[in-house]
Amino acid sequence: MGVYILRRLLLMIPTLIGITFVVFMIIALAPGGIGASLRVSGGEMEANTRAIREAYLEDRYGLDAPAPVQYIRWLGRISPIKFGTRDQIDPTGEFIRSPKTPKEPPLWSFFVEELPEDAQPVPYEFDLSAGLTDAQIAEQKSRAYRRQSQAYSQARAAMIANKALLDELIGRIADENALRGIRDSNGKIRYSVVERNKDVFENDARWEEVQAQGNVLIDAYAEAWRQWGILKGIFDAKPFPEAGFGTSWVSISSPDFGRSFTKSRPVVDLISDAIPITILLNLIATPIIYFIAIPCGMLAAVRAGSMFDRLSGAFFIALWSFPIPLAGVLAIGYLANNDYLGWFPVSGLHSTASEGYTYLPSVNAQGNWEPGYLLDLIWHVCLPVLCLVYGGFAVLSKQTRAAMLDNFNMDYVRTAKAKGVAGNTIVLRHVFRNSLLPLITMFVTIFPAMLAGSVVIEQIFTVPGMGRLTLESINLRDRELLLANTLMIAGVNLIALLLADILYALADPRISYK
């Protein structure tokens, strides 16, 4: 058994990589590709400056690399085993990576014989006077690093801006000379085409302008390298404690899920905001489904063919086939609208007054009864929970009923009856226990769905849960968020499947994984 579980766990790693890779590539290959939301700016008037802004963002988030490279980089970041220079962690908990080197400027052979040499890290020593406390030392180190980090960002930004200007110039000349195929599908200049048609540019009246801009770019590149050298030197002097443990070649540290570039917040924060809400809804909904559906299923099995059996079956199936969006809108329109019943609030998780409430119900200073924060919350989730619940009865009660009926026809039931065991005991102790098997499996498959959230219900009731987060990450083509969500949902699914298999073995002695 242990070996089996270990093997399954190890197999999960390639499976997860496969799943995330496929999902990522599907999104990346869709029109616009990763980061499309940053580029699409319909209705936005400033167009020229957009190129520069786009270049900035692409540089910041590495969106200009090909999709598979982006995926592999992500994999490297989340992998707990890391190779190469170790990251450092600053006091606010942020990962500080070894600074990125400046990118080689395009078309440099047009302007100079050879590129300026790559700078080497400038060895750096913190200038610390004696008698400082540890906190002051950390503060000074961090300040030295930050100052240089800003200087390097500035140099890099200058390089990006100058590259955008060069691109614009080249684009203009190419357009005027009707040069075809100069741009790829995202509107970026294809430098290989430019190089092949160098004569077009050389013969253009603005060749000197191009030369001048190119030289500025090369200078900016050299400056960026210089600043990089200084920054790298400071980084190597370790201004912050290193992350995880290990050597400078291989180390183990916690995975870094990165930052969502459409919301510019850490992915972990976004998920940890959304997940408690989704879990809360499902923690209320799932027991309700079980407590209603299983007894009904049992009763229907015991009295198979009776009026109750037929009516409950028909009723649950009717509920199951009722579309959730319609139910949600009807619930809001009638149950929440003060013009009709107005029993429940329409949206949100708390009412305005709830901030002044204590956690539990209480009597306030004026002697009035206050429902308290907890009850207020439960009152607010009533309608979403209702919509989550009603469709779930049918499947579970039918499953219970079928499993029970199967068992009723078994020999051991006949034997028990024959030896005079009471009817209730047979139903509860013998038949029900043996019918639990499919129910366990069902619970295990419901569990991942609980974390993934329900898109429709969350949308209608404006519940900021996981379903909406995942949907947004797809719509906005947000790489980090999408991959982290996929990884989480896939991981939970795989674990749930493993759990189901283990539970099978535990519940049914006929199954073993030897």
């Binding site: 400056t49 509107g187 956690y359």
Partner: protein, 627 residues
């Protein structure tokens, strides 16, 4: 099977669980009390501070400003102009900012009340300049202030944090004097250093994610501190839009933001502090507002300007239409943006008048919807629309009033040009083209398009049939209805129109590659006048600019003239000429201007729609008439 789990064990177990749950709940209860205590203590702290300052003022014998009356400004005689750069250049002075319609003398005016506004989409963050969506900006506008604001009624640029400025007639610099009494919500004064810091170390800090504003403000060369309250902003080159740009970014408190690392600011969701009438009660970076929660602003008790009556502003999000309206009728929210059918349906109800202010008006942010005709070549071939007469005919052939009535519930206005009607830049003399298919056919015939073989389709002299592709973005019922209407109208006069429906992500590529015959799109506006260069100049035809229709009809003289003209009235004259040209040439068929629609609860009084938008700071609660 001897150790049976009996009923007694079960009851015991349940009891234990209940005790544990109660324990946890009691702990939560205590935590909450503690948190509420903390907020109270913070509030008392801020009140004490304010008291101390007031006392200091009283002791030193300074006349306490009345905080925002129209008479609060210093008279012309006492104005100190020693700070100016060039004594020969006119200095523009501004009175103490007030209310557009002052509620304070109204009968029944009272302080207090909570105003809850509902957004249709979730702002990602509320930190100033980093959170750049419309909704984020609406919250920030209540918390942060700029050197100058547009006057709500006249839309003129008026000094707000700035008491006066001197603008170089050549257009190379502007020197700004900040009001002495302006202070941030923590009581610290707004200084010239804050302005410099905001521009150079916040907006232009490459480590902060302020790219979108940074890339727009490239015309500002530097911001220099002249003295504590005087700052000079210099420009790279003169441009009519410089002044607006220089005075229209939020001024942030240096002393507050300096405490945080760039990463902390980048990741903050609501690290928002400014000098505005409202403030965030909670500015702890570890425990801020997060998307999904209701954003709560409280009145800035130390506000230097006209103090609002409302004590709290709240912002929540409801995305779907039905819940949004239900929340409003239930009184769970005080302001929503209803859909067009909802607006019509509710305003027809008999008792609606007593329940809500139903506002529908055009303002400086109203955008317009248009069809752009491909005036240049597509794939090296000219489309029929390169001829101005054809474009005019296309406009004449569309009954835009009927479209608005049938497709958009009749609430919108026919658009006439590139600037929306409330803007001074719109030429008031221009009437929209009429609906006249006869005249359209005549114009088409003039341009050489006639039904020569009698098959019902127009041909040109070479016998090529008139057909074109109409590109629109996928999604939306109204867009589909509009497309059907256009196809119908084209068929009616013998033009074959093929709709092409594409995804948004692809739309951008189509625009960049100019790969369309006719396309529909909307432009939004954010200021009373915006530089038409990006959209209309022939420079923007090249290099994937936004003149994707490749229109070249002599517009450049006006657009270049606009940029060079620093005088407002003369500039407006050029704008009007430009507007006439666009109207005559019809590179776009302007379809509709979309007014803002709002329902605001009748619980609030002094609600006025302005060309600038809404001014929540003027509202106050009045007892409901009915009920």
């Amino acid at each position: 099977m001897q150790n049976k789990f009996g009923l007694k064990d079960f009851v015991l177990l349940v009891l234990v669980v209940i005790v544990m749950v109660l324990g946890v709940l009691a702990m939560r209860q205590d935590d909450r009390r503690w948190e509420q205590n903390e907020t109270l203590v913070a509030k008392i702290d801020s009140i004490e501070q304010q008291l101390a300052r007031l006392e200091g003022k009283l002791e030193s014998g300074i006349i306490v400003s009345n905080g925002g009356g129209a008479n609060g400004s210093s008279s012309a005689a006492t104005r100190d102009e020693s700070w100016v750069r060039d004594p020969n250049v006119e200095v523009v002075w501004f009175d103490m900012p007030g209310f557009a319609s002052d509620p304070r003398d109204d009968e029944g005016y009272r302080i207090g009340g909570t105003f809850q506004e509902t957004f249709e989409a979730q702002p990602a963050k509320l930190t100033p300049i980093l959170g750049e969506d419309v909704y984020g900006r609406r919250v920030q506008d209540q918390v942060c202030e700029r050197l100058a604001e547009f006057d709500p009624e006249t839309l003129e640029l008026t000094g707000w944090l700035a008491e006066a400025w001197q603008y170089d007639p050549e257009g190379y610099w502007v020197r700004v004097k900040i009001r002495d009494i302006a202070r941030f919500s923590d009581g610290q004064p707004v200084t010239a250093e804050d302005v410099r810091w905001t521009f150079h170390d916040y907006i232009n800090n490459p480590e902060l994610e302020t790219e979108s504003l940074r890339s727009i403000l490239t015309q500002i060369e530097k911001v220099e501190v002249i003295d504590d309250k005087v700052v000079e902003i210099s420009f790279n080159e003169p441009d009519a839009y410089n002044l607006q740009a220089a005075l229209q970014f939020y001024i942030l408190p240096k002393h507050f933001y300096e405490k945080f690392t760039p990463t902390q600011i980048n990741q903050a969701t609501a690290l928002t502090m400014g000098s505005g009438p409202f403030k965030f009660a909670n500015l702890n970076p570890d425990n801020q507002w997060t998307p999904g929660e209701t954003a709560v602003l409280v009145r800035n008790e130390q506000y230097w300007g006209p103090k609002p009556a409302l004590s709290e502003l709240r912002f929540n999000v409801i995305q779907e239409d039905v819940p949004k309206l239900t929340a409003f009728t239930n009184g769970e929210t005080d302001m929503i943006n209803p859909s067009a059918p909802q607006f019509l349906e509710m305003t027809e109800r008999a008792d609606w008048e007593d329940r809500a202010h139903s506002l529908k008006w055009l303002n400086m942010r109203s955008g317009y919807l248009f069809i752009g005709w491909q005036c240049g070549p597509r794939d090296g071939r000219l489309t029929p629309f390169h001829d101005k007469r054809v474009r005019q005919a296309m406009t004449l052939n569309l009954d835009r009033e009927q479209m608005i009535r049938d497709i958009w519930a009749g609430l919108d206005y026919v658009a006439v040009g590139p600037n929306n009607p409330p803007s001074p830049a719109a030429n008031p003399e221009i009437e929209p083209w009429p609906y006249d298919p006869e005249r359209a056919l005549e114009l088409l015939a003039e341009a050489g398009w006639e039904d020569r073989d009698g098959n019902g389709i127009l041909e040109n002299a070479e016998g090529v049939e008139f057909e074109f592709e109409f590109t629109r973005a996928s999604g939306g019922q109204t867009a589909e209805r509009m497309q059907k209407y256009i196809v119908d109208r084209c068929a009616a006069i013998g033009i074959r129109c093929t709709p092409k429906i594409v995804d948004w992500a692809l739309y951008d590529q189509i625009l960049k590659n100019r790969d369309f015959d006719a396309i529909t799109l909307g432009w939004s506006a954010s200021a009373p006048e915006s530089d038409p260069k990006q959209i209309w100049h022939t420079d923007s035809i090249q290099n994937q600019g936004h003149n994707f229709i490749q229109w070249d009809g002599g517009q450049d003289q006006y657009i270049d003239g606009l940029k060079a003209e620093l005088d407002f009235d003369k500039r407006m004259k050029i704008f009007h000429q430009f507007h006439s040209l666009v109207h005559e040439e019809q590179p776009y068929t302007f379809i509709r201007v979309v007014p803002w629609k709002r329902f605001i609860s009748k619980e609030f009084t002094n609600v006025h729609p302005y060309p600038k938008g809404l001014e929540q700071r003027e509202y106050y609660t009045a007892p409901m008439q009915a009920n």
